[in-house]
Subunit: 219 residues, 2 copies
């Protein structure tokens, strides 16, 4: 009943079949992104993408739930329990920064294919409508993220009411996501490994955040 014969890698379950499927999906994404760079996002149809990827339009929808999902990626960043535990406990940085750093790591981890990642970034930057869809998709998970932050807040500020925790969780997520978005463009300029630079960029950003939220700094 249970898997045997797994002497190969640490990845538990990936046979010929799974690998082919994964590669076909990646090829489809690449095809879609390339077409966007060539003709512009608005001029790219599912039929064109399927054509270039060598699959039927119907199969395209077996792979991805929508045209946008193929371009932006179906999966969204989801920190695992270990990352969450670290986030909840660390106290060397502010709540917002701690969350921003965790999300930056989760984001990088959720997309192992860096070339695809960069390609996607370029397309998003060149298509404002697509950028809007992207932000909307990410925003769908804000409630979940806020719940994670609420766990940290509950541990650190026991006096907060439930309503306050919810509000501050939402607020923390909004600020952190905004900060990540603000440096995302800069981040993609880096040529080497991306996790390091992003963490550093986020960290460098926070003195600015504090200044911008501090009352009457000038004069």
């Amino acid at each position: 009943m249970h898997d045997v014969q797994q002497s190969e890698e640490c990845v538990p379950t990936e046979g010929r079949r799974e690998r082919k499927l994964r590669e076909a999906k990646a090829a489809t994404q690449r095809a879609g992104l390339e077409l966007c760079l060539e003709h512009g996002y608005g001029a790219v149809t599912v039929e064109m993408i399927a054509d270039r990827a060598g699959i039927s339009p119907r199969t395209f929808y077996n792979y991805f739930s929508s045209r946008e999902a193929a371009l932006l990626g179906d999966g969204k960043p989801r920190p695992d329990e270990a990352m969450i535990a670290t986030f909840i406990e660390r106290d060397d940085v502010s709540d917002v920064e701690a969350f921003a750093v965790m999300m930056a790591e989760a984001w990088a981890k959720s997309e192992p294919d860096k070339a695809l990642f960069r390609l996607r970034r370029r397309v998003i930057d060149s298509a404002p409508e697509l950028a809007a869809v992207n932000i909307g998709r990410i925003a769908e998970d804000r409630a979940d993220y806020a719940a994670i932050v609420a766990r940290r807040l509950a541990a650190r500020y026991p006096d907060l009411t439930d309503a306050e925790r919810e509000l501050e969780g939402t607020l923390t997520v909004a600020i952190a996501m905004g900060a990540i978005q603000a440096v995302a463009k800069e981040w993609m300029r880096g040529d080497d490994d991306q996790t390091g630079p992003l963490k550093a960029l986020v960290h460098d950003l926070f003195p600015r955040v504090r200044r911008l939220t501090q009352a009457a700094p000038a004069s």
Copy 2:
């Protein structure tokens, strides 16, 4: 050649025609929102909305550029020059708070019909997909907003480079929009005039913003 016979109101140009059109649009929006509350966002088609509004589906698309635009409102908040000037000069609050307050006012001003406003809020809260679209739509204008903030930053921090101004403008907008979004739900609970309470809510929020971005506040 120029308008005469304008003894009525201060609104300069609105004849029978304009008024009828405006009312038909508002009726269409109301019809769409009501249907969403009755049957759920996903089950509402353009045909249903047009039916209830007493117009043809084709006319629906003459009024609104998309189904979402009808539900969420075609127009987006756009502060006028006077508001911008005030925003740039005021120094009793932080950059982010000043911008958040201006946007809150512009938002309230962009939608004079408060009943419609509340109705829309209820629908958005009840339909996560629609909320995502809404956030995406608002995000489309972030670049414009960031440019406005950059004008204030240029006046207050002359030493910033262009790149820094752009980054901090983007960041300010992201934080402020997040803050507004975080209190939007609370805001709609108020029964009376909305501008006052929103400004107050935003103001009350900022001590929390500072605490959440301050490093290691607890032990």
